[in-house]
Symmetry: C2
Subunit: 312 residues, 2 copies
């Protein structure tokens, strides 16, 4: 009836998603403090920052200082993101890990409005980036398919459409001799429900043998049910954000929720007997630190309530 994985890899994306979304009042020392605290919780991977234009995203202007300032703990991957070749080259030189990221959008309208690109331009850009990765010695990396389930312009995205855009990205990777390390389906605006997660994950699985990962936003409160749907299909890699850090610039409400909260995903896994390597009470402490740093309540319920002792 269920096909739970025995271990789930949870990538902590709170610093990148959160610091990008918050007003630019957060000092670099606090960002470093949070990343260092997260390093002590057992999360295997932390996405620390985005290498983007600081004129457009002033919150990320201190990304080099962050990369230099954190205390790297052995066994933890300190990753980052970028949108173009310039960003990648800065990231490469930062000392952070650079997964060879190939990305696109299932919604063409979202791509146009958000990145000002046509699907063809996006694929060409990704092909160029993939060549640059290979020149720099990077092998296989993840595919990120944004708005995989729906977008605020086009509404629900049909499975066939998501598969088509995904296939183009798979081809970019395969052509370069670097087949994707995984296919990460992103619910960028929190549009998905559990049946949609099942349908798209199953369809991707049927078409390719690459591992499927999920990057789920909890914008409308269905996030953890969507995680559960993924776990039941054996999905073993999730992005999540401590305390639910981050928000949704597309929701038209500043207090809209961000990613699923890392500690709630870890709790669900723990309750289902799935290992994550995460120390949940330590992660709850990190969520409370994040809340202190951003100076407003975060959406994680577990961070507020604390754990429940099943065997007192």
């Amino acid at each position: 009836m269920t096909d739970f994985p025995s271990f789930v890899h949870i990538a902590e994306v709170g610093p990148r998603e959160g610091f990008q979304f918050e007003p630019p009042h957060i000092v670099t020392a606090d960002k470093i403090r949070l990343i260092n605290a997260l390093s002590e919780t057992g999360v295997p991977e932390i996405e620390c920052a985005s290498f983007v234009n600081p004129k457009v995203v002033p919150q990320m202007a201190d990304v080099v200082q962050i990369a230099e300032g954190i205390t790297k703990r052995q066994g933890v991957t300190y990753g980052c993101m970028w949108l173009n070749a310039k960003g990648f080259l800065q990231a490469r030189d930062s000392g952070l890990t650079t997964p060879a990221l190939t990305s696109g959008s299932a919604s063409d309208t979202f791509l146009q409005r958000n990145n000002n690109r046509t699907p063809e331009e996006q694929i060409k850009g990704q092909r160029d980036l993939r060549a640059l990765y290979s020149e720099n010695g990077l092998g296989s990396g993840p595919i990120y398919l944004f708005t995989a389930f729906g977008c605020n312009y086009e509404g629900e995205i049909p499975v066939e459409k998501a598969l088509q855009r995904c296939a183009e990205l798979v081809q970019v990777c395969e052509e370069a001799g670097t087949p994707p390390a995984n296919i990460t389906l992103c619910d960028t605006i929190g549009a998905a429900d559990p049946m949609q997660v099942r349908a798209l994950v199953s369809a991707v699985r049927e078409k390719w043998d690459y591992p499927v990962a999920l990057h789920l936003h909890d914008t409308r409160g269905l996030g953890i049910a969507n995680v559960m749907a993924g776990l039941e299909l054996g999905v073993a890699r999730f992005d999540a954000s401590v305390g639910g850090l981050g928000g949704c610039p597309f929701a038209g409400h500043k207090s809209a929720a961000g990613n699923v909260a890392t500690e709630e995903v870890a709790l669900l896994c723990d309750r289902l007997g799935i290992a994550t390597g995460i120390d949940i009470p330590a992660l709850i402490e990190a969520a409370r630190l994040a809340e202190e740093i951003v100076r407003h309540p975060l959406t994680s319920k577990l961070a507020h309530a604390g754990t429940f002792n099943r065997h007192p």
Copy 2:
């Protein structure tokens, strides 16, 4: 693979759960305003108040004024709760609907600490109440089994233990010639996970033919995944609270989450093709009114983000 019901009855318990939990600053007119707003959203049932000792729960001192002040809309059931014969008699005279409630706790320690009763005293009290209901012409009513999945003193409650305490309550109802209208399994402190929900719902189903209902708290963020688990087993009756009103006095943190949010349960049902009769945008407006009335942010994510237009 799934056994979704075609219609789900969602009972709105926000006024009772919320006004009971909030500090006693909320004026009666605001309580009435919220109940009236909820009446316009299509929810079929609203639990308005508890008939309890106002010296112990001063928030409920105005329950008679609430019952008299609301504008009753046809087709909506305006219910209430009580804990003993005195409360029931007041409720009976209030004009609110009095479902013949038989209740108990799966956790004996919780019963002792919270109600100062042994399991035997609880059953005797329920038998007396059940006789009083019959004297007052009330037929079958629901069973509420509190702490059905776990409690903060005993931890996780084994299925066998929950079944045993449930069987005693079933017997009280059956003996009186009024078999239970449903068995409501309550996750009083937000201890459950989806596999536990499946296990207990299935076990209750195997033992009795009475409909199973779920009253789920979202204390640790797993609430909506637990709702999903219930829906997949065909559970067709849920309690929920607008905006996530209410909290958890047992969580040791004043901002711990309350019940699953009604609008999020309604959204999940809607996305799964299950009818609820609820106008989700109207309910979101009611959640925002509730937030205004309690003067602090509520935990519902959907209420903050708004709906997603699948077919723009």
